[in-house]
């Protein structure tokens, strides 16, 4: 059985099944390496159905000790699956979507994701 966890010299490595966790292991066979700096965390995600022509719309997520990156895309209900980007900004606990003019872009399912990355 492979040793999948290594904690040595201030470095933590977790390997994929079948591979020993060690510093010489190529990155492709690791689940995590503290030398990477980031690991693709998803702090929160969800979907909201926003009606037509909002001015601002706020999405709350668990407060973080930093301001993370967030992404919001809209699948408008008017044109099937067409995807639009959505303007807005992010704080450490909220995504605030700005005004979108025109009913085509404004309505529909808004998929939002907050990533564990500092801005």
């Amino acid at each position: 059985m492979a040793n999948r966890l290594s904690v040595t010299g201030g470095r933590v490595i977790i390997s994929k099944p079948g591979y020993n966790a060690e510093a010489s292991l190529p990155d492709a066979f690791k689940v995590f390496d503290s030398a990477w700096g980031i690991s693709g965390l998803i702090v929160a995600k969800g979907v909201v159905d926003i009606p037509n022509n909002y001015t601002t719309y706020t999405i709350n997520f668990p407060p973080q000790h930093y301001v993370p990156y967030a992404e919001v895309i809209c699948r408008t209900t008017l044109t099937g699956t067409k995807i639009f980007s959505v303007p807005g900004y992010c704080t450490n606990s909220q995504i605030i979507l700005g005004s979108v003019t025109g009913s085509l872009q404004a309505r529909g399912l808004h998929y939002w994701t907050v990533y564990g990355l500092s801005q």
Binding site: S34, G37, S39, L41, I42, V47, H65, Y66, K82, I83
Partner: protein, 146 residues
């Protein structure tokens, strides 16, 4: 030396926490490198597909549509995804997010993207009199979309 590993309580919850290099895990200022309170992004499939250019005679009219399906191993649910287009001209500009902003002729005007079972379906609509070649680049994650 900075403490970077903590196994136990942090932020009021038990877990494994690893901070970024140079950031104290007991009082972090940056996003953590590992935080077991949250799920991690896990890549399932990725690819790159070429959309060859088309030329038509009308000006400033949506004229270009290319429809294609990319197959990937089915997951049984709608997964998270990321995508972009790379315009194979003028320095190979990437275009993301797509659709709401039209910076000029020849750029992606609208882009339709849908995951149906084990396939990604895409449609481009372009604006202008001619288009360059485009590459569609995508990543499918094992994580559920929502």
């Amino acid at each position: 030396m900075t403490n970077r590993l903590r196994i136990g309580h942090l932020f009021g919850q038990p877990g494994v926490y690893i901070s970024q290099p140079g950031d104290d895990v007991n009082n972090p200022t940056q996003a953590l490198a590992l935080d077991t309170r949250y799920e991690t992004m896990d890549i399932h499939h990725y690819g790159r597909r070429r959309y060859n250019k088309e030329v038509i005679s009308s000006i400033n009219t949506t004229f270009y549509t290319s429809f294609g399906a990319e197959q990937f191993p089915a997951l049984g649910y709608e997964p998270m995804f990321m995508f972009t287009t790379i315009r194979l001209a003028s320095g190979n500009w990437a275009s993301y997010p797509l659709g709401i902003y039209n910076p000029g002729p020849g750029f992606t005007q609208n882009f339709e993207f849908e995951i149906r079972g084990n396939a990604i379906w895409t449609t481009f609509d372009m604006l202008g009199t001619s288009t360059p070649d485009y590459d569609f680049v995508y990543v499918i994650f094992r994580n559920r979309l929502v």
